[in-house]
């Protein structure tokens, strides 16, 4: 037989062989078929993890996932450019909220402005009223109970940064739409406990340096002198050996704005004006702030010049200005090289401070009252892996047994089982190739695929062997086509039944639906036609 005729004759089987081989390569050859450069890093982990290139999700690998919606609401507003700050200030004053909790944005792509408030206690009516106070015509009904996409993107970015800075790889953050028009921010991190992840998510991470000094008439005054966004670069948590303290080295932004001012210059000017570089040097009583309890004591006799490191409205530490730093500020040299050390009580504080400074603040906090948490120990996850494999093997054996009992003809039953298994191999290979993290729900999907797959093969076998022996190829083809109508119809219903799951955000179930739908497609397009060919070869006399 010449090669072309051979291919023509057996193309369905050949196609199956090609797909199975490709799947095996994707599964077992280190590196697999992914040609993505960014993958290389992660690849080492997967090789360590097992003999295959399969990736596992939280449900089979351990880790923690927390889903929670962002707090806040937004409204489209009609203002001129340049009015943004004014509206923000009005919102803040009217609603009595922190500066970080009121944001006005300009959306370049569709040329509009939005105002957002990220505070739980503010109602839509209050928000609308405050906006009207700012001269913007917004009714309560115009308020959208969701923050803007930009805000969500920023939150996702910040959380990603925080996970990376905590030294954990493999974490993912994404948003998921709900049936209403709400969104959840979902964070998944392998190797983190729920408590740790929760802390990482709840911390707003708003860092400020507050100057605490005697004001005009001698009463102590608080004044925020530096905010997170004023830092140009932040070093990593460090330890000073000689004097024994933990600190984070920071550089203040010295790039000049249009009016010639820069955060560094402003900071220096403020320090000089408030007396920190003169009478206030060294004038901060260490007892003013209790490092153990974090309490800040305002009841003291002498005048105090303290620089407070404040994270999320809590005083982390209080210090006076060191003489060296004061000198360079007083002379005005400091702004040319605006670095200083933020000293904190412990290594842990230094770490969190560095992370907070580097990742910036969460644009809006997450509402953990409405959260969903899932966490699994790696040890139990390993058990689940073994169990899934066992359950899968058991199901396949059961199916094989039933099929054999029914036909008691190895020529029919053996290829049937092999074909159903080929379907699973192709799907596994696909999962490895696109690096889909497998979870328990996917395992359920694989088992469902074996189930539906065998069902369809039974339809083919029965149809083809009906009405006596299959003598000619033409008879076979016509019967096969008839069988295929039923299979196509059945496949279509399964796909329709499961497609809502594949699209809706029902957590665990998306994987199940995707695998089952893919399995049905692979079955109808590749494996079932091939089974027909095999059966034909075995049954027709040629």
């Amino acid at each position: 037989m010449n090669p072309i005729a051979f291919v023509k004759e057996y193309w369905r089987i050949l196609l199956l062989v090609v797909f199975v081989s490709a799947a095996l390569v994707a599964l077992f050859v280190p590196g697999g078929v992914t040609d993505d450069d960014t993958v290389v890093e992660g690849e080492n982990e997967t090789i360590d993890a097992g003999p295959t290139n399969l990736e596992y999700g939280l449900g089979l690998d351990g880790g923690t996932r927390i889903s929670a919606p962002p707090v806040g609401m937004s409204a489209d507003i009609d203002i001129e450019s340049g009015q943004e700050r004014e509206v923000e200030t009005t919102l803040r004053d009217e609603l009595g909220i922190d500066a970080a909790d009121a944001v006005v944005r300009y959306h370049e792509d569709d040329d509009r402005f939005t105002a957002e408030v990220f505070a739980e206690e503010v109602t839509a009516a209050e928000f609308a009223a405050a906006l009207q106070e700012a001269g913007v015509d917004v009714e309560e009904g115009d308020v959208d109970d969701e923050v803007t996409q930009q805000t969500r993107d920023e939150i996702i970015q910040t959380i990603e940064l925080r996970i990376n800075e905590a030294g954990l790889s493999g974490g993912t953050v994404y948003q998921e739409a709900t049936v209403g028009d709400g969104y959840y921010i979902v964070t998944e991190v392998p190797g983190m406990s729920p408590g740790e992840l929760r802390e990482l998510l709840t911390e707003r991470g708003d860092v400020q340096i507050v100057a605490y000094y005697p004001g005009e008439n001698g009463t102590q005054t608080n004044e925020t002198v530096l905010r997170s966004e004023d830092f140009a670069s932040v070093g990593s948590a460090s330890y000073n050996d000689r004097q024994g303290y933990h600190y984070v080295p920071v550089t203040v932004d010295d790039s000049e704005a249009n009016d010639g001012s820069s955060p560094a210059a402003d900071y220096q000017a403020a320090m000089n004006e408030y007396g920190f570089t003169g009478e206030g040097i060294g004038q901060c009583n260490p007892n003013i702030h209790d490092r153990e309890t974090g309490e800040f004591d305002t009841d003291h006799d002498a005048q105090q010049w303290c620089l407070l490191t404040v994270v999320d409205d809590e005083v982390v530490d209080a210090h006076s200005m060191s003489p060296d730093l004061a000198d360079s500020m007083a002379s005005g040299d400091w702004e040319n090289d605006p670095v200083f050390q933020m000293i904190v009580p412990s290594q842990q504080d230094a770490n969190t401070l560095a992370v907070n400074l580097q990742s910036g603040a969460l644009t809006a906090p997450l509402d953990l009252e409405q959260e969903q948490t899932f966490s699994l120990e790696p040890a139990l996850a390993d058990q689940f892996k073994t169990y899934s494999l066992l359950i899968g093997v058991l199901s396949v054996l059961t199916v094989s047994g039933t099929v054999y009992l029914r036909y008691s003809d190895r020529r029919v039953a053996a290829p049937m089982i092999l074909t159903a298994l080929a379907e699973v191999v192709i799907l596994l290979g696909f999962a490895a190739a696109i690096r889909m993290p497998l979870d328990l729900s996917h395992v359920a999907g694989f088992i469902a695929v074996v189930g539906t797959g065998v069902d369809d093969l039974i339809i083919i076998a029965d149809e083809v062997m009906d009405e006596g022996d299959v003598s000619s190829r033409r008879v076979f083809e016509s019967r096969f086509r008839k069988a295929f109508w039923v299979i196509g119809a059945a496949a279509a219903t399964t796909i329709i039944a499961l497609s809502p799951l594949a699209v809706l955000s029902l957590g665990d179930l998306r994987g199940f639906a995707i695998i089952t739908i893919l399995g049905v497609l692979v079955g109808v397009l590749i494996t079932r036609p091939a089974y027909g060919d095999i059966l034909q070869r075995l049954l027709t006399d040629r």
């Binding site: 408590g195 139990l380 058991l394 059961t398 957590g507």
Partner: protein, 292 residues
Amino acid sequence: MGYFDVPEIDYTRYSDRQLAAVPLAVLGVALLVLAGSFLLLGTPVQLGMDFVGGTELTVQTATPEEEIPGAFEEEPESIQSVASAENQYIVQFVSTDQEGLSEQAETNLEPAGGGEVIQQVSSTSASFGEQTQRTALLGLAVAFLGMSALAFALFRTFVPSIAIVVSAFSDLVIPLAFMSLVGIRLSLGTVAALLMLIGYSVDSDILLNNHVLRRGGDFYESTHRAMRTGITMTVTSMTAMLVMGVAAWIFGVELLSSIGIILFVGLTADLMNTYLLNLSLLRWYKFHGVAR
């Protein structure tokens, strides 16, 4: 052929009414169960943690099972020991104070086997659960409507298509009533099983309709052939699902066990609905309906 063969039922002995009576009666009882549960408990099927919120801990501890409730400030809703692993228990709570409960477990439960006390935590807040509930209902509705539309598109005649839709509906209601009676709570896993059931159960109906309507030949002959294939299919799936359900239950893998058991029950209902309800409607259509 084969160690088991599909029995040939002599359908001529029964009238259409007689055939349809059994599945319709079962459907009626199932609906009554759901209605009763709705009146007594407020929901047709008890909703699981995924939908109403709550916390579930899987703990590994040397503390004996009966002393576990004492470790928590809140009375656990249920404690289930994992059959395959010694000292492993699944403890459920109504509250969503995941942190507090984890802390109490860690301080008050004796560790066993060197591993962490808390092996798995999942908690869902009530409002998150409500969201999930709405999503799941929407999913089920869309799936069912999609399947119905497809059935009508495939056969383009009213009676055979509605026969498929009615049996599929019954295939969903019967396992739901079963869950309500046995006390299986509706979870994401069981919703997946119900959706899968829509896909699976329609297969045998389509097969039957196809054989009877689109092929020539005697009605009973076609029916018998469709049954031979269809029952083999359904029984194969049923055994696979039963094995998966039981094995997963022994191993304490909830998601898989609920999918397996619900599919098993649903497919059993499907056998009845397809070969009694759908068949009687088809026969009526073939012998009386077409003539009109």
